[in-house]
């Protein structure tokens, strides 16, 4: 779905994505790094569990929420990847389905 243009820096960092160690380009946002890997499923909507991914990439829409280093609901487009970053997608469905 996405690729990088020529001429960009080849520097990489390794991060954890849902417990798996992966290498991603350095100095790009978590959102861009995941999209580059073809990741289209950042979280499940808290309302209807539908799959969600970035929409605006500038911090205004809050669709790209993801867990970064233990902090939930971080906008993936607002943080650059760092060495050893622990990223977890927010895939849990609501706990209280029956109470809806």
């Amino acid at each position: 779905m996405f690729k990088r243009i020529d001429g960009e820096s080849t520097a990489e960092v390794s991060i954890m994505l849902d417990g798996e160690r992966i290498n991603v380009p350095a100095d790009i946002s978590v959102a861009a790094a995941l999209l580059l890997r073809g990741e289209q499923h950042f979280r499940n909507s808290e309302i209807d569990s539908s799959f969600r991914a970035p929409y605006c990439m500038m911090g205004a829409c809050f669709e790209c929420l993801i867990e970064i280093d233990g902090r939930k609901n971080q906008r993936a487009c607002q943080f650059n990847v760092t060495e050893g970053m622990n990223v977890r997608r927010q895939l849990a469905v609501p706990q209280s389905e029956d109470v809806k």
Binding site: A53, C56, M57
Partner: protein
């Protein structure tokens, strides 16, 4: 970060940078609070680190931003990055978070230069992965050097859509279709403003170049498009729409939507500044005088965050606001301010006419 500055500028896009440069030049101690990691705002996002290849792809306007960024970095302004302002009131108390730490500060003057965002374009299926905005495509290209590697669809109306198309074609991206939602009725209205707009011929030339690039690449263009719907199961598979009385659908896994940009007025509203609805632009704007002064004493709003004018207007307006702040803070007299401002008024009138 100190607990008080004479001038605090929020945002480091063209307006914020120009304002800080101008105020600092005239001796004002100014702090710039920027939510991003480097100057440029959205339009000049990451311009300082852009490779030559990227600058060629994005075009001359983007590369020109590098000059302004250099000037800003060389100025005496105190620049704080990754600093997210979450509180501003009418007495110019500011709450900001940087690296997870909160700070409270005050200022004698505050300039809100937080820019614009895309007008949301809700269509059925817009929550599907694979539905994004033209601006999102821009951010991916500017900040990460990332472009689509499979055919895409562009849908909506406005110059940014054409700019994205032109840049993507230059980069070798396949565009399966442009769905132009501009209503037929808009063209005669636009034509009536033509004589006025010819003051800014360069904008017309740019627009003409964009259309030419699209024609040369033979990108299918559908006009007067309505009823756009995105569909797919866990991600986008297809975009359907009506155009000239026919129903169509195109298979694609990425569609970029755009309906122009609108000022992000939240901070001004939070501080109690008056806003007004602009019928022509169909959005809220911050009410300001020609120097950017809002209805709240000592609070200014300038650039696309006050009213949409584009990067050049934002830069000129930012400089004017910087001058006015230097004046109200006692660093330059009225005559000096007017002398510097005269040329800027002329430039702004020309760019605004489009």
């Amino acid at each position: 970060m100190k607990s008080h500055y004479p001038l605090v500028v929020i945002g480091a896009g063209p307006a914020g940078m120009a304002c800080a440069i101008s105020a600092a030049q005239h001796g004002v101690e100014v702090a710039v609070l920027d939510a991003q990691a480097s100057p440029g705002g959205q339009i000049y996002r990451d311009v300082a680190k852009a490779s030559n290849k990227k600058q060629r792809l994005l075009g001359g306007d983007y590369a020109a931003g590098a000059k302004l960024v250099k000037k800003f970095e060389r100025s005496n302004a105190h620049y704080f990055t990754n600093a997210s302002v979450w509180y501003l009131d009418n007495e110019r108390n500011i709450g900001v978070t940087q690296d997870g730490k909160s700070h409270r500060l005050t200022a004698d003057a505050v300039v809100i230069a937080t820019g614009a965002r895309e007008r949301p374009m809700p269509i059925p299926g817009w929550e599907l992965p694979g539905v994004m905005t033209a601006g999102a495509g821009q951010v991916l290209l500017k900040s990460a050097g990332v472009i689509p590697n499979s055919p895409i669809v562009l849908a909506g109306s406005g110059p940014l859509l054409l700019l994205v198309a032109q840049q993507y074609l230059r980069a070798g991206v396949t565009i399966n279709a442009i769905l132009d939602t501009t209503p037929k009725a808009n063209w005669p209205k636009a034509k009536s403003l033509l004589p006025h707009a010819l003051l800014a011929t360069e904008y017309f030339l740019k627009g003409a170049q964009m259309w030419a690039a699209i024609k040369v690449a033979r990108v299918p263009i559908y006009k007067e498009v309505t009823n756009i719907q995105a569909s797919g199961d866990s991600s986008l598979k297809q975009v359907s729409f009506d155009s000239s009385g026919n129903s169509n659908s195109i298979d694609t896994n990425l569609v970029l939507l755009h309906q122009g940009v609108i000022p992000t007025v939240h901070m001004a509203q939070a501080a109690g500044c008056k806003t007004q609805w602009d019928d022509g632009q169909q959005c809220w704007q911050v009410e300001t005088d020609s120097w950017g002064q809002t209805s709240r004493d000592g609070i200014f709003s300038v650039g696309d965050g006050a009213s949409s004018g584009g990067a050049k207007v934002a830069q000129i307006s930012g400089e004017l606001t910087g001058l006015q702040c230097a004046h109200t803070l006692g660093e330059i007299g009225r005559n000096a301010r007017n002398k510097y401002a005269k040329m800027l008024w002329r430039y702004r009138k020309r760019h605004d006419s489009i």
